[in-house]
Amino acid sequence: MGLVGQVFDALLAIALVWLAWQATRAADLFRAVVSFIVFGLLMAVAWVRLEAPDIALAEAAIGAGATGALLLSALDRLAPRRGRSWARVWRADARTWVLWVPAVMALAGALTAAAWQLPAPGLGAVATGALEQSGVDHAVTAVLLNFRALDTLLEIGVLVLAAVAVWSMGPAPAASAPVMPSPTLPMLGRTLFPVFVLVAAYLLWRGSHAPGGAFPAGAVLGAGGILMLLAGAQPWIRSAEHGPWRAILSAGFAVMLFAAIVGALAGGAFFEYPAAIASHAILVLEVTAGMSIALLLFAVYLRGEPHPAADTDRQRC
């Protein structure tokens, strides 16, 4: 790695801690959100340094992109409020300094000391050893969709659940896009969206033999959709009872649950794919899971139940 790498890593670590502090304690909320977005981007760089490019992609798309957009649009809806001044932040929280900072420091100290002792064995070798029977050539995909498919099922379930919970809280606010002074944004959004689709498709295809797969692909596609919304596009998802969207949104989860049950009926254990069709089954699951993740991220971002049916008299963008 060399000296340059070590200096870079040290700077990266210091910048991350500083940004985290800024994001939580900054006097001005807008500044806090921007710090958070930059934190996500630098975190993605850190994942690249740790040789985990797929996590870096997901971090950049979800941590910085989608979450940043959510925070900014939430900020847009908050009543304008004067931020706390730095002097107040330092003065007002006596309890923070006496109680919480020492407690967190002690825990962080123990955590660092413990992490220092870790031998870092991992299960990489075991996973690679079982790769041949898994139906795919890449260990991460094998873990996500075969060895630990139950986790993935439940994680997609959490996304469906989050979308249902967001919809249950009432109708979505009329305009999803914040008032943007910039006229270039809609054009930029339209130009960039095909690139997002292309990158997502590439990541999905790559998943069977290299870092990539359903989660990063879904995250990138979802972030692309959110960018379109920010650029002023009208959401096309509808919540009509007899419309297709409710079924489409739950499709990824439903297909995976179905595969698990078929596995149980054929092989004896929940999610036990018959070896002959494992690779095909995983391909189908990967594509539906990727599409589902993208749509669900998008559906959560609508911040409420979308209009039940497409109304024609509303002005289109």
Binding site: P121, A165, E241, F253, A269
Partner: protein, 498 residues
């Protein structure tokens, strides 16, 4: 595939499938949910029967064995909690279907209740059978998001409580996950029975144990981390309060018990046990005192949850003192009896508050025509919470007391007695308010006065809700009769070292 395996697969997958059906076809949500609820109850009984008949077993998900794949452990304790979830879930479903919340009363579509409710149920079932620390994290997230959605369903005030609950419990999840990451880094395994043999009691083990414990204490609302519970549980719809107080909080304790008597067994020194027990003591006394001071019925019941779970925490000091088996069965019976009776209390309270159109304890007197059954259910549940024989609460506390006597830990015995007296005091306040002649009309809201004078008779809707509450209360009593013969089943727990 054996009948037991099939039952467990139904228990994990049916709620999710039904939730999706309820989301895609909202107009059929009630039918789908009621049928699924009955099926899930039957499946839980089949699983329990299989464990009682053939002993506990493992199910390797995907056919992959432990360090690589995720395992399910289906043992007596897991099945007992699956049964508890099924009972509360079935009663809550009947209660909510009977209540017929009308679309006009809420700003949003009330039919979203059903998918959220079933998802919560599925998440809990997946949690109880899971033997994998990371998989448990995912199920905890599932349970959290569903609970938050359900709490927020009952309007603006509840949304603030739901938000606080979300922040508290997400923080708990992150801390738990940090601990799990340390364990994985140390021994490259996440499987609880495997870790029970492999996790060393060194600095890494200790840090991981404290992180996992803090996370779960926050999720279980154990004193002093209970700040989020009272408003979240008191403001939700009655069936939501019932499952949150009866099962969701119990799930955190269940995981705590499995972790400390499994992987962290060597760390459970008398000092660590006493520390956990003192948290329990704080919960029993502080929660009981605040329950005594509450003016609103549902807030009183919510504080009582904080107090009652404190009794379960006595498992740790008593196990550290050597009386592991007796303390384990005692704490688990307390947990089950509390789950059933607390859920019964909330369901009954839902009917009572609806009848009197007020949740204030001092406004509950007077005419009780038509809701006698609800008061009967409440009284039965209260008897079990206090620990009167022959209820489940009595058997659980009796075993805990025996464990304290056998290990010579008399201070914990004193705590049991003091906590029981406190419980009796705050529950008696409510029952005494009910048999009073009724408050002067000025104490009521104008709308309630008219209804009160007429003496509203019971509607079929009320009857359905009261039967649901009564069923749970009778269940709490039945636990008392079923516990002694089922004690060996309850202490069949894979990965727990006695």
């Amino acid at each position: 595939m054996t009948a037991g395996d099939a039952a467990v697969i139904v228990l994990v997958s049916l709620p999710h499938a039904a939730a999706i059906a309820g989301f895609v076809w909202p107009s059929r949500a009630v039918t789908v949910s009621l049928i699924s609820a009955a099926t899930l109850m039957a499946a839980a009984l089949v699983a329990m029967h299989a464990v009682a008949g053939y002993g506990a077993w493992r199910h390797d998900v995907g056919g992959w064995e432990a360090p690589l794949g995720i395992g399910w452990t289906i043992d007596g304790v897991a099945c007992a909690l699956l049964l508890l979830t099924a009972a509360v879930g079935l009663a809550g479903s009947i209660h909510h279907a009977a209540a017929r919340v009308r679309p006009s009363t809420a700003a949003h579509d009330p039919r979203y209740f059903w998918p959220l409710w079933l998802f919560l149920w599925g998440g809990l079932n997946a949690l109880f059978v899971s033997a994998d620390l990371f998989n448990i994290f995912v199920t905890l997230e599932f349970v959290t998001v569903a609970s938050v959605g359900l709490i927020a369903l009952s309007g603006r005030l509840a949304q603030a409580a739901a938000w606080r609950y979300l922040l508290a419990t997400l923080f708990g999840s992150s801390v738990y996950l940090l601990g799990v990451a340390l364990i994985y880094g140390r021994v490259a395994a996440l499987d609880l029975p495997f870790l029970a043999q492999a996790l060393p009691a060194d600095l890494v083990g200790m840090t991981a144990a404290s992180l996992v414990t803090i996370g779960l204490l926050l999720k279980g609302a154990v004193f002093p981390l209970h700040f989020w519970l009272p408003s979240a549980h008191a403001r939700a719809l009655p069936p939501v309060s019932a499952i949150l107080s009866g099962v969701v909080v119990a799930a955190a304790f269940y995981l705590l018990a499995r972790a400390w008597l499994g992987p962290f067994r060597e760390l459970l020194t008398p000092a660590a046990g006493t520390a956990l027990g003192l948290l329990g003591a704080g919960a029993v006394l502080w929660g009981g005192l605040l329950a005594l001071l509450q003016r609103h019925l549902k807030r009183m019941i919510a504080y009582s949850t904080v107090s009652q779970l404190g009794f379960c925490m006595l498992l740790f000091p008593l196990a550290a003192a050597g009386a592991t088996q007796l303390a384990w069965t005692g704490a688990m019976v307390v947990l089950l009896a509390h789950g059933l009776s607390k859920a019964a209390c909330f369901l009954a309270a839902g009917v009572i508050v609806r009848h009197h159109r007020s949740g204030r304890v001092d406004a509950l007197g007077g005419c009780q025509q038509g809701i006698g059954l609800a008061w009967f259910a409440f009284a039965l549940a209260a008897a079990s919470l206090v620990g009167l024989p022959p209820t489940g609460g009595f058997v659980g506390k009796w075993w805990l007391a025996q464990a304290a006597i056998n290990s010579g830990a008399y201070p914990w015995l004193a705590l049991l007695v003091a906590g029981t007296l406190l419980t009796a005091a705050y529950l008696w306040r409510v029952l005494e308010a009910a048999i009073r002649t009724g408050p002067p009309d000025e104490a009521r809201r104008p709308a309630a006065i008219a209804a009160h004078r007429e003496g509203a008779p019971a509607t079929p809707s009320d009857r359905g809700m009261m039967i649901a509450a009564l069923g749970l209360a009778l269940g709490a009593v039945a636990v008392g009769a079923a516990a002694p013969p089922l004690a060996p089943v309850l202490s069949s727990a894979i990965g727990v070292t006695w």
